[in-house]
Every structure is written in structure tokens, then in C-alpha cells.
Symmetry: C2
Amino acid sequence: MSERNILLTLAYDGTDFHGWQIQTNQRTVQGELEAALQRLHNRRIVTNAAGRTDSGVHADGQRVNFRSTIDSIPAHKFREAINSALPYDVRVLESRHVPDDFHARYDALARTYRYALLVSPVQIPRFRNYAHRISRTPDVALLNRMAAQLIGEHDFSSFGMATAEGGHCVRRVDAAAFYPQPPFLVFEITANAFLWKMVRSIVGTILTCEPCGIAAFADILRAQDRSRAYVAAPGRGLVLHKVRYHESLGIN
Amino acid sequence: MSERNILLTLAYDGTDFHGWQIQTNQRTVQGELEAALQRLHNRRIVTNAAGRTDSGVHADGQRVNFRSTIDSIPAHKFREAINSALPYDVRVLESRHVPDDFHARYDALARTYRYALLVSPVQIPRFRNYAHRISRTPDVALLNRMAAQLIGEHDFSSFGMATAEGGHCVRRVDAAAFYPQPPFLVFEITANAFLWKMVRSIVGTILTCEPCGIAAFADILRAQDRSRAYVAAPGRGLVLHKVRYHESLGIN
């Protein structure tokens, strides 16, 4: 039986999930996806995701690959087949055939996350699970000067932990900026990879540092000390927006 | 005991409500608000809303007035007092004192609604309750030429029903246009008042008429015949965005 390597682009509402990664007795995105794939294949299927999103974190461009022995479904039709077996809060946006050695996580060249801040003195109920509310409009130019400090290759130990045992904390940030999208202020950041909790920790620290200025934020970044960061912004404002691969794969 | 007339600006997530208007055995926004006001006042309080939104329809600028006999709360502090008694899916954004004869509905000069269309071949789960999904990007210029037909004073019988028995169907539309706000296409319409289901019926008809062109839409509008309109777009895409009053009141 021949095996095909299938890549999925996934969107999900993270509200009712305990994150991506499969856990016993918790509802997770990987758990629901692998259950749907198991129903389709009548056997256990293992999935690899580009980003292991936390509890409450959303995605509209998560990438996941798995190996299928089903010959009868054209690669682009896995979308429909899997969607018919998934719950309402996860959807496959696209499915395609990728080379045998392709791995959604190891082959990812860059990830883009977006963090939505709702600027409002009172909660707007329909955004309660999709943004972090702040009461006053911050000085966006100042926030952007802080965000600019992140660009380039740095040891981000202050803002997260390596996900692999003994892993280092150097990451390359390609872009990081705040832009208004009323009623939201959105922070968008692209890096080759992220530490665990890195985006939320950066957002929380930038917001807390605003009254102290850029130098205070730069100090925390340079300290390479996890205890120096301020409390991470909540998961609900975060969306895994895009994962980029080598152009030769033609999947961006 | 002196009575004050208090005006509230209200935001709500319409998903779990059977619309604004109070009904026995149904969860409604008016029902929840009047229950909160009753707990605060220890007696039944009647509220008047500018727009009687339907099931699933949201608001971020609904206006509601009621009469209070509580002297101990400054008008602008009703916001906090009421919010502490309301469920998570309704919030008072602002409270203020208005003249005794002010009525949120009868004094409204104009209402603005927004309708969100999600342009995506597959549902994006976190928008499922907040937009109506369409698969392909429509010709926005053509939709806007149809929308332009609505501007001015017309009999809108084709697109709705008068809410009062024997009421006429003439309304004055001040503005109506589609604008892209990726991943959404938003329709925004301002009129002195709206018939029941008018916005959703207009959106549904414009989308269905797109392949037939402007003349087909203009014909339906001119027909003044409810049976000519196409199926109304679902409530979940609609938001009561703003209600305008006479400038002398200083509440816009």
C-alpha cells in the first residue's frame, strides 16, 4: 500500500480547546483532528503541526502533515473528507500532496502570529474570546519603537522557554509591529520560530513597559532572564496566522 | 421620589439571545437588562431600545433609556452598577442623564447597521457566529452600484415589513455601501429607520442579484412587493453599530 504525505492548512477557534497538543482527558485540536483521521483511515494517524498553540489560542493558518494510505481520495479532496468528520470549531482550509520527507514543523522557515488588543473601557461581548481588552489607546509609535528592538537574532530567554529539553533560546525575528485595525490594535510578529509563550510574553511586557519607555524594554530583552518579563497577555488574543516554507515547495 | 431618565449605550453578543424584545421563556437582551435593573431598583423597570434587533443579531451601539428613582448613583456610574448585574454577553458601554421627555426609539434620527460577509471557501471557525460566509469575492463595484439605488426616500415594502400595525414602509436611506475589511466584506447602511428584517433582506437580495445585474435589483426595489426579495441573510452577520440623535442633546 503506497503512502502519501498530506499537508493541511487548518483554522480553529481555540476557545474550547486545551491547545494544540494531544493530552489525555482534555479536548485538544490534535486530539480532534487525529480522531477524525482515525475514523477515515480505520487506524491511528499521527499528525505534525508547525506551531503547538496553547489553550485559547486560535489559528487561521496552522499547517499539519500526516501520512495517508487512502488512495481513493485526491489530495485536494482530503479537505472535504476530513471536514465532514471534524467538529464545528476546526476546519481544514486546504489539503495537498507534499514530498515524502516534508515535515510541517521542521521544514517551516517562518511563522507569523497576530495578537489582537481591543481598545475599550468596557468589554465588547462578541470579542471576549478573540482579543485582550485594554482600557486606553497606548502610544502606538512608542510600542513600535519597542517592537523594533526585537528584530534580528537575539537570545529571547527573557520571553519564553525552549520547547525541547536543553534547547537554546536564540530566534530570528523578521518583523514585529503594531497597527490599528479599529476597534483593535493588532501586533504582528514573524520569526523563524518562537519559544513557548514568547508572543504573549512580549505583548504583556511591551504593554506594561509603555510608561517606562524603550530603555526599560530593551533592558529586559538583553537580560536573558525569564524572571524579568511581565505577565504574559492571555491566549485568547493570539492567532497563528501563517507558516512559510521554502518557495520550491510552492505551498506559501 | 425624583425620577431621572437614563440613557445607556449597550453592546451585546446576540448569539445566545432570541433578539432584543422581551418574551416569556426565551432569553432576550431586554429580559436580561430589565432583570438587572429590577435587582438594582427592587421593582419592575421598563426599557425602550432604539432598535429591536432579531435573534443572533449583535450590537455595539444599541441605545436604551429607562427611568430610575435611585438618587445615590451619579448618572455615569449606572454603567458599573448595571454591568455588575448583567451576564457576560451584554455590557453597558456608557450611561448618562437625558431630558425627561427623551425616548431612545422615537427620538432617534438615524441608525447605522453593519453586515459582515466572510469571503472564504471554508468556514473560519472563530467567525462562525459573527459573519455570513460567502465562497467567492463578489464584484464589489457592482454591489455598490446596487447599494446606491437604495439611497434616498423609497417605499421599502420589498425588503421588510412595518413593525407597527398599519404602518407605512417609506424610509430614508442616507448611506449604503460595501467596503473590504479582510477577511470580511462589510455592508454599512444608515437610514432614519428600518423595517423588520430590512438590512438582512437587502444583503441577501443584492448577493443573489449579483449575476443578474443592477436592473434586476432596481426592479425588486421598485416592485414594493415582499415576495420579490430573495432570502434574507442570516442574523449573525448583523451589528447595530450606531444610533444618532439631535445634536443639541450632545449624545452622539
